[in-house]
Amino acid sequence: MRLLPSGDAGLLVELDDLDAVLALHRTLAADPPAGVLDVVPASRTVLLVLDPAATTVGTVAAAVRAARPTAADRAGGELVELPVVYDGEDLADVGELLGCSAAEVVTRHTGTEWTVAFGGFAPGFGYLTAADGGWDVPRRSTPRTRVPAGAVALAGEFSGVYPRESPGGWQLLGHTDTAVFDLHREPAALLRPGVRVRFVDAR
């Protein structure tokens, strides 16, 4: 664990891997040190956003060093099932990239237990990682200018669901009618760090 300075309103904690990120995020989000306004997980880091009027970077750093995150228990998070119609334009391409048929891609995608690692890109977009790895798909060489809301996609080691229509370079597998982001729901984002996801073939 490395503590990196981020001015007087932030402290960036760099960790060895995603499991360590999930564990530290869970520990700090459940019981944030005094004066911490937000905890931002990413793929290798956790940022603590602090109120400089209420605490100092040094105090927060001491609290982080004293935190005892338990090993990220992937089985512990809330489980969300997302019905997917696997009609994505890139399904065959993804099969080629992975050396299998399109049907096999669906079997593997639905057979994998995914965990939301972190957010970013857009409100409600969660980066989902597979418990047993095995996914490594490049982004499309030319991003699409328009990916519809609900598109279920892959890129790198991650899967994700587009919360709203936007440009995007991920490989499209299909779509879900479940709203992953809803302003009138609390919390608005369905796919928050630590949540486990099962995709279900809806056809």
Binding site: L4, P5, S6, G7, D8, A9, G10, L12, E14, H25, A29, L37, D38, V39, V40, P41, A42, S43, R44, T45, V46, L47, V49, P52, F118, G119, G120, F121, A122, P123, G124, F125, G126, P163, L183, P187, A188, A189, R192, P193
Partner: protein
């Protein structure tokens, strides 16, 4: 109904409060007023709750009409025109307030006693121009509801605060998480340069023009969280200074951070002004 009618929004007027806190894990940034100290002062002058929403007026030009008599206060960039600055004033029912262009600075905060009472979105009345969350951007003809006045009105007649400076501005820069990604020369250039604030800045951030800040190492940085004040350096070597609507995470290395109280002043920089960084 207590309300203000927008007659003209100027180049850009948004509703802002202190922002959406604690939602970064949902991919939602804080947003909120660009000049927190100025907005807090405006609310204090009127005896408002610190969470009350204000109008953030960019480059002046706002015209509003009071539908009922209202106490108002303007802070931040002082605009040309007869309205008092940094002092509470009464706008009678039917009276109009018209702001000219800023004398200096970029953003004026207009507070109303009772607060702008548009519907909050996810716990805040801030419009985040990057994510699109929040109340709609006001346009001519919009009627903005005003909340009931609560608590004691302010007792200060005029606040003795300095106007945002024109010309060159100097702020404190603190170490950033990826300072070691840059050459010694880049660090010397960061503090040795008068950076020009370009015209394509917005509430997300300022783009600064100057010499190229070169990296001492190659490779891609996995996206990581950042807060306002971050000086992110994209491959062009021209730094971006993040303001209120910055993305929750970013994938370019952050060479330094503007000290938190100084970020408010950066939110007042108009295109063409010069920004210098000094180390503490």
């Amino acid at each position: 109904m207590r309300a203000l009618t927008v007659l003209a929004p100027g180049p850009l007027t948004t509703v802002q409060d202190r922002g959406r806190l604690g939602r970064a894990a949902e991919g939602i940034g804080r947003s909120g007023v660009c000049d927190r100290a100025a907005a807090a002062l405006a609310n204090r002058l009127l005896g408002n709750d610190p969470d009350a929403a204000v109008l953030e007026v960019t480059a002046g030009g706002l015209a509003v009409r009071a539908e009922t008599g209202l106490w108002l206060a303007l802070t931040g960039a002082r605009c040309a025109g007869p309205a008092p600055h940094a002092a509470p004033f009464w706008l009678a029912a039917g009276e109009e307030l018209r702001l000219g262009p800023p004398v200096s600075g970029l953003r004026t905060h207009l507070a109303v006693r009772g607060g702008i009472a548009v519907d909050p979105v996810l716990g805040s009345r801030s419009t985040d121009l990057l994510s699109g969350l929040g109340p709609p951007v006001p346009t001519a003809g919009d009627v903005l509801p005003v909340g009931a006045a609560r608590g004691e009105p302010g007792t200060v007649d005029v606040a003795g605060v300095a106007d945002p400076p024109a010309g060159e501005v100097s702020v404190t820069v603190l170490p950033g998480p990826r300072a070691d990604w840059f050459t010694d020369e880049a660090h010397a250039l960061l503090t040795g340069t008068g950076w020009t604030v370009t015209g394509d800045g917005n509430r997300v951030g300022l783009r600064l023009a100057g010499p190229e800040l070169t990296r001492g190492r190659t490779g891609e940085l996995p996206s990581e969280g950042m807060v306002r004040g971050a000086l992110q350096v994209p491959p062009s070597g021209q730094p971006v200074l993040f303001l209120a609507d910055h993305p929750v995470t970013g994938g370019y290395p952050v060479i330094g951070y503007v000290a938190e109280p100084d970020v408010d002043r950066c939110g007042q920089l108009a295109p063409g002004q010069t920004l210098r960084f000094r180390r503490r």
